[in-house]
Symmetry: C2
Subunit: 227 residues, 2 copies
């Protein structure tokens, strides 16, 4: 029986893009279903009744939600091109830093771009700078967070590799990630964006920047309201 | 070489207890290091410089932080008595609900007990009721979340299995988890608390209730401040 892989997402979903990257890296065919988040489909509400959010991966009728959970599911289901390291300690590190990016870096990025006033934005930028320093140290001499090849942590860090730059441009804030301050992370961003499986699967940048100019403030408000 | 397993935690740490349960279930010897959270040790700050929080498991000198990350590390390192299911889909479900308990149920429990006024507490209790209904459905005909034996999701759900009852008593709120409303979950709590590896590894209940009477409000304030 042919496998059926559906992905409910939307073109600007940072978390949906993660899932797409993992599917593309592993060469898995899937059907992308674009959701209108202002008018969610009955299918999305059925498949993710808890959070009612994208992305949801539906594999042969069974739904999996939450991007990091989906990435692990993909890695355990399709074994080629592993995206998690083999050793338990490295796996733990990967999970730790992915969680750190979602729980710490993401709100700091949003706030540094769309905090309610200059003072709040500057404070968030300072906080973000401390957080990025941890990731700078984590890269050490490695080309990617995954080592010589892309792994789950690189995919999670797309938050910084691509999204951060788009948000900076849309919000008109000064550079949050500079070569001077974070040489390894800066280099990683360039390496990351030059990987064909990645750059071919990012949103159209101009459209994305224009979209975020209109919606960035709302994203930050929604993030706050959901806490 | 003998293995060295250290656990930095404190007796009232909900997340530290998770790690202890997994270690005990697998029969791993470890040294428990009680941290004074008002005066954290240089070792804790060295091993968890990012969050500066307990628990931290240090295995042969290598630190792992974040309770759910530690649980997966333990399961991948010591293979006896697996706490995660085998099938990728069930593993994804386990991870999804564990995250749900930490991100959704935990703040609702704290707020239902120590929200700033009656209205806020009642609203949180209503929200919690909706959340618990999802877990009630998840239990279906199962004895434990893990099936016939205890698994990672049961350990994560100790938040509800033990902590919720202590918090209710300490805060003097009416029953948030009743047999009438949540018969399966109520039954699971009783099954859970009758497992010797669990009940022997919980804090002394009276001491814990007294401690939370003094500190519950502070816990909720800290939770809010950390967001």
């Amino acid at each position: 029986m042919a496998e059926e892989v559906l992905l409910f997402s939307t073109w600007f979903s940072i978390y949906g893009r993660r899932v797409e990257m993992a599917l593309k890296l592993k060469g898995i065919e899937y059907k992308f279903i674009e959701e209108d988040l202002t008018n969610k489909s009955p299918s999305l509400l059925k498949y993710n009744p808890v959070h009612k959010k994208v992305p949801v991966l539906v594999h042969n009728g069974k739904p999996v939600a939450e991007s990091l959970v989906i990435l692990e599911y993909i890695d355990e289901t399709w074994k080629n091109h592993p995206i998690l390291p083999k050793h338990p300690y490295e796996r733990a590190n990967t999970r730790f830093w992915a969680k750190f990016i979602d729980e710490k870096c993401w709100p700091a990025i949003l706030q540094a771009c769309w905090g309610k006033d200059q003072k709040e934005r500057e404070k968030a930028a300072e906080e973000l700078s401390k957080l990025l320093q941890f990731l700078e140290n984590e890269l050490k001499g490695k080309r990617f967070f995954g080592g010589e090849t892309i792994g789950l942590l690189d995919i999670a860090a797309n938050t910084i590799g691509y999204w951060l730059g788009v948000f900076e441009e849309a919000a008109g804030v000064s550079e949050l990630l500079t070569r001077e301050k974070f040489p390894k992370l800066f280099n990683w961003v360039n390496e990351w964006l030059s990987v064909s499986a990645i750059k071919e699967n990012l949103p159209p940048r101009d459209k994305h920047v224009a979209f975020m100019r209109l919606n960035g403030q709302g994203f930050w408000n929604d993030y706050n309201a959901s806490k």
